[in-house]
């Protein structure tokens, strides 16, 4: 059986530098990523955490690759639920490629076990997050998505 894997892709009217800033800056991620700030010293091998304003950690992982402004890869563990938090970490990869006046952003989320319970839960979440990120960069306003509110209530 194949291990589950999701790929998301969009084109955003922005520069690679600005898109890189959006995926690595805590003030940016707070606006489109379930109201959590990314926290990392950007040295491969370092811990990476997504924190709410009150300090709770919603997801965490280890930084694997950091090649600004092109490639960001980290392991990812979902902490919203105690049972799900016991699953081994999966891997998230962001790839940024300039395409004329736009950037292609591809997000690959893989390295799940075949019977992962986290995997079926994340699909809708990523679509909303990426769509909101695109809106933030192109219009200056992130989208108010349902997941933002739910995730901030449901953290374990």
């Amino acid at each position: 059986m194949k291990n589950p894997e999701h790929i998301y892709q969009t084109y955003i009217r922005t520069t690679p530098q600005r898109l890189w800033e959006a995926i690595t800056s805590p003030e940016f991620t707070r606006q489109y990523f379930h109201r959590m700030r990314i926290d990392c010293d950007w040295q491969p091998g370092s811990e990476l955490k997504f924190r709410y304003d009150d300090g709770r950690v919603g997801c965490e992982g280890t930084l694997l690759d950091c090649v600004p402004p092109r490639l960001l890869r980290y392991t990812w563990r979902f902490l919203f639920d105690q049972e799900l938090a016991r699953e081994r970490p999966s891997t998230v990869t962001f790839e940024i490629e300039p395409r004329g006046e736009n950037c292609r952003l591809r997000v690959t989320h893989n390295d799940f076990d075949a019977d992962s319970k986290v995997f079926p839960m994340i699909s809708e979440g990523w679509s909303e997050v990426i769509s909101s990120l695109k809106s933030l960069l192109e219009t200056g306003a992130a989208l108010e998505v349902a997941g933002n509110a739910e995730a901030s209530r449901g953290v374990a």
């Binding site: 194949k2 790929i7 969009t10 699909s123 809708e124 990426i130 769509s131 809106s135």
Partner: protein, 107 residues
């Protein structure tokens, strides 16, 4: 967005998206298995879905695997559906759903 609407306007292409929603990462051969049409026809539909960004083809080992990319549909939802699907339209849709379910049960 024009390309996404065009890609979604064909029932075979919508079936391909449904197949990929159920089982991501299918090869062309695996996709052909569930559709009664030639490999060339399926390949052509996949091409239109790829241009629209709804399907992403990625090389995995020796094979090309196809993934559903739901982001363009999310973007259509944000731009064209959320705006119009207000409470009243949801209520009418729910009423229609309930009435049709009733008549279905009766028949």
């Amino acid at each position: 967005m024009e390309r996404v609407f065009k890609a979604l306007s064909d029932s075979t292409r919508r079936r391909i998206l449904d197949r990929l929603f159920d089982t991501d990462s299918l090869s062309l051969g695996e996709l052909c298995g569930g559709l009664e049409m030639s490999r060339q026809a399926v390949s052509k539909h996949l091409g239109i879905l790829e241009v629209a960004g709804l399907v992403i083809a990625v090389r995995r080992g020796r094979e090309k695997r196809h993934f559903l990319n739901p982001v363009p549909i999310q973007e259509i939802g944000d731009r064209w559906i959320a705006k119009y699907a207000r409470k009243q339209t949801r209520a009418i849709a729910a009423l229609k759903g309930a009435l049709e379910e009733d008549s279905h049960e009766e028949s």
